[in-house]
Amino acid sequence: MATRTKSQPLMRLNQDVSTLAVDVFLFAMKVALIFFTLWAIVGTVALQVNGQGLTGAAWGDLVVGGLSQGFMYGLIALGYSMVYGVLGFINFAHGEVFMAGAMTGYFVADALFDAGLWENAFILAILIVLLSSVVTSTVVAVLVERIAYRKLRGAPRLIPLITSIGMSFFLQYSVKGLFGASFKTFPQLPEGLQNRVSVFGLEVEGIKLLVIVAAIVSMLALWFFVERSRTGRAIRAVSEDKEIAGLMGIDVNRTIVMTFAVGGAMAGVGGMLWAMLFRKVFFLTGFLPGIKAFTAAVLGGIGNLGGAMLGGVTLGLVEASGPNMLGGLSWAIPTWLAYLAAAFGAVVAYWGVHRLRSGDVRKVGVSLGMLVMGVVGVFMGIFVLPGFSATVPGASQLKDMIAFIVLIGVLMVRPAGLLGERLASEERA
């Protein structure tokens, strides 16, 4: 890098065109992702200002719904995040640990309902349900670790991942075989939880409030456990460096089991809350929330407990408001904004040329991408975008898709997540 000549980047251009083409394509994908996100947000706001959007109360409902869902994602994400932080692999079966909690919640609640305890002593009943969900999920998580993962410490990273996929299938279809494939309907909640209560001027369903509060309490408990207790300190030490933690007299094996147990307990809380909120549980309940919770963990920064919670809440909010945001695409882009975009494109294109000429050898692909996308932007801004709008029918069906696109987008644009990842030294790739 000592002598940068102007011809250097062009030489690189000749060397591997395919790599450059891929870089440009990747850059274009990122730009398109950001462009559509911005358009959706700006469009939604603009429609709202024009008075074409949802009412304030409807938005409030969406936000509260997104928050409660997001906190549950956060609770599951903690397990993914902790295990990834300590062992460095995606515990695919964690979604099924969550499902086990939800299932247990249903069975215990149903039994208590039959016994009459549900209506007479609701608080006691709910505590019993919570306890059994947490215990089941913890036991399942620890058993999975014992049976499937312990032998694989130190195996190539993909081996435990594949194992966990197998475990996930095994758990799903065991539950189907044992308890049947039908939807299990959670008993009706007492009146008080179904009514709306007013918090900070928002009308909130009681159950959603309960979910949010319970999630925050569990999160705080976990935080205290990890930050203040002896075991928590051991977990942090092991996730920092297993070998040295072992040399310092920490029982690494026991600590890893504890990590699974704590993650499982949080998933148990999440599962029980899920069963209460949606009142429907079946053997595939864990699959989608599992993947989404992993998305949340990555979004917040994997290995980072605060990040998992933040990621969960963010994902919940994005997912809840996303379909409406897609409606924002129907906002016709005004001409002045389109021209502004064209001007921005021109600046970016010039910037790209500048970077290419100044010979920044490392990021030729990005510079080229800026040039290409800048030119595309100018063209689009002048000829296509003025007055352009798009309607997406059936946007609510795309809820899951939005979550997956968030996952792909985060890993493309900012793989370390919002708050940065914290991984064991040997897992940082």
Partner: protein
């Protein structure tokens, strides 16, 4: 696992005592396994299918293997190089019996419990019928005693395996295995017997309840043991001789074997009934896709969990291009082969779209992102958003429709086949001619010229008479579909085989072992990864296109993630990176258990197959990550440092991190 090379210098005189605690622990695991299998309903569902008539039904078999295996495991020890083998004796039998009896007691206790307390509200498959089966038709208490006695006996049998010499153990296990295989193959063999005019054999070997008769079982068992001793070592000798052949000869032998198998595959379906041919067609489709995934996962080491996306792209492209009922205005109504180039183009684009974002991601993120793409593909095809194009949840009907035939049809005109073959021959000739000219090798150039001439002639003849012969395959004729799929499988296998040791194949291998090192050594990781994705995508899309025409109608619900996972199981069980492994894996797994919705040969497994696929995945990863028929290199990668002299030093292995 390896036999000791030296005799122990100091032989202990006393036998080890029976380790009761361990036997009970293993027995408890056995009991839990048995209760689990009973409670998910396997025993009951399998009960109608007898394996050895009238001794053993598949239902009893599904729990009888447990005491056998765990009875063996109760005193099993891993013998590493340089360690002396454990003494065998009565303790093996006693431990085995104890283990089996304890497992039986647990199962019997379970049966007693569910007989008194009704748990059907929760465990829906614990039916009175199940309790009756577990009690052998007696009262539950008597049944429990029988279970304990049987468990003990079978467990002791399992323990007795330790007393046999290696040779006998292998002979007896394979006798068991063969009896089971013949039992399971009732459908296939029955058809084959009938097809070759020896239908009477069917009545001799099989009873009416689909099991083999006791007499036949005994004959098979004795025959297999006798074969083992009669031909002792000859299999090894054949293998030895094969391995000692020079590389080129070995390759050509392998090639001839493959071609022979293909020919057999072409002929055999005509003796099968429609159901078996349906199964075979499914096997072929999955084999095609597994070969594709093998390139991505096995060769390049990229764990693609959303492989079903490419399958869906292929199926939908074929549907849109060939169906007269395409929802949108775009209805080219092409024939299968005219639409095929578009399938390949769309697959390439899909491969690039999925492959590009994941290029710089580490392995596990790659897996989860491809999984996301797999789900996105299904959601896109399902959504109302693009209903005008893909028909939403209603799917697309009449794919590959031929007005003349009134069915979904694939017409292969041999004239165009000739053009394609001629083109390839001509191209090869041209390349050889060019390299010969560069080397100034006149005689080679002449030979290459003949190739060019032959290729061109064939192509011209093909173009002049495109329909001098044609082969019409309709979608519902699974026999013909299987043959066509087999042609594609052969093509895919040939491509994979040629790619394996090619420049790009070696680049994949280097990348799989260490990406950074590969990149440092000058391998273009970006192109290598993209190429793997694209080739894999094309093979999956071909599978999708064939699938679409085969069933004539596609719905987005056919393209769930389960499909990807099942293909992954096939590749992993067979052996990542091993062509033989993948082929055998598809044949055995899909043939016996079936695809996500398609039935396999054992229809009883329908309910449990996803469970079994999950267990297989875990088991293989724990015990044999390189697969059943591994590629040599892959097993070296995965077992590089095992079974070495000093591994026993950290035998517990648990402290190792």
């Amino acid at each position: 696992m390896t036999a000791p090379t030296t005799a122990p210098t100091t032989a202990p005189t006393t036998l080890p005592a029976v380790d009761g605690a361990k036997a009970l622990r293993v027995g408890a695991i056995a009991g839990v396994t048995a209760i689990f299998i009973a409670a998910i309903g396997m025993v009951e569902v399998f009960d109608d299918h007898s394996v050895i008539d009238p001794l053993l039904s598949l239902g009893y078999l599904s729990i009888a293997w447990i005491p056998l295996l765990f009875g063996y495991r109760a005193t099993h020890q891993l013998v590493l190089e340089g360690m002396e083998p454990p003494k065998t004796g009565a303790h093996n039998l006693i431990s085995g019996a104890l283990t089996g009896a304890f497992g039986g007691a647990m199962l019997g206790g379970f049966a007693l419990l569910v007989d008194t307390v009704d748990v059907r509200e929760i465990l829906i498959n614990v039916t009175p019928r199940l309790i009756e089966i577990l009690a052998f038709g007696q009262s539950a208490a008597v049944g429990a005693l029988i279970l304990i006695a049987l468990g003990g006996a079978i467990g002791a049998l399992g323990g007795a395996f330790h007393l046999m010499s290696n040779h006998w153990r292998r002979a007896v296990s394979s006798a068991f295995l063969w009896i089971l295989i013949v039992g399971f193959l009732e459908l296939v063999l029955g058809n084959v017997f009938k097809g070759f005019g020896v239908g009477f054999l069917n009545d001799v070997v099989y009873s009416e309840s689909r099991g083999i008769t006791t007499g036949a079982a005994v004959v098979i068992g004795v025959a297999v043991v006798a074969m083992h001793f009669g031909f002792a070592g000859s299999a090894a000798a054949v293998r030895e001789r094969f391995l000692s052949l020079p590389e080129a000869k070995r390759r050509s032998t392998g090639f001839i074997v493959a071609v022979t198998l293909m020919a057999v595959g072409m002929v055999v379906p005509s003796v099968f009934g429609p159901f078996l041919n349906e199964v075979l067609a499914t096997v072929g489709l999955f084999m095609l896709m597994a070969l594709g995934l093998n390139i991505v996962v096995g060769y390049a080491g990229l764990l693609d969990l959303g492989y079903v996306a490419f399958f869906a792209v292929g199926a939908y492209t074929m549907a849109v291009f060939s169906s007269p009922l395409t929802p949108g205005d775009f209805t080219p109504e092409m024939a299968f082969y005219s639409a095929l180039p578009f399938v390949i183009i769309m697959a390439t684009i899909a491969g690039i779209i999925v492959g590009t974002p994941v290029i710089r991601m580490r392995g596990d993120y790659l897996a989860i992102v491809t999984l996301a793409f797999g789900e996105i593909a299904r959601l896109v095809f399902q959504a109302d958003w693009l209903k005008g194009m893909f028909g939403g949840a209603q799917g697309i009907l009449r794919i590959g429709w031929s007005e003349a035939v009134g069915k979904s049809t694939i017409v292969t005109m041999f004239g165009y086949v000739l053009v394609a073959v001629g083109g390839v021959v001509g191209l090869i000739g041209f390349l050889r001619w060019r390299s010969a000219r560069a080397d100034d090798d006149a005689s080679s150039a002449k030979k290459a010229g003949i190739w060019i001439g032959l290729g061109t002639t064939a192509a011209v003849i093909g173009l002049l008479f495109p329909d001098f012969a044609s082969w019409t395959v309709t979608g519902i004729d699974s026999e013909a579909v299987f043959r066509l799929v087999l042609v594609f499988v052969a093509l895919a296998a040939f491509i994979s085989w040629r790619l394996q040791d090619s420049r790009i194949g070696r680049a994949w291998m280097a990348m799989r072992e260490d990406e950074q090192v590969a990149e440092t050594m000058g391998i273009n990781v970006v192109t290598a990864k993209l190429l793997a994705f694209i080739i894999g995508a094309i093979l999956a899309a071909l599978g999708g296109a064939l699938f679409a025409v085969k069933i004539g109608t596609i719905f987005p619900s056919s393209f769930k993630i389960v499909q990807s996972i099942i293909i992954l199981v096939v590749v992993i069980v067979g052996g990542m990176g091993s062509l033989r492994g993948v082929a055998v894996g598809a044949l055995v797994l899909i043939g016996v258990l079936g695809g996500p919705t398609q039935p396999g040969m054992l229809r009883e497994f329908q309910e449990f197959k996803l469970l079994i696929y999950g267990v297989l995945l875990v088991y293989m990863m724990l015990q044999r990550p390189e697969g059943l028929i591994p590629s040599a290199r892959r097993s070296r990668e995965l077992h590089g440092d095992e079974l070495k002299q000093d591994v026993w030093l950290d035998k517990d292995g648990e402290e190792e991190v």
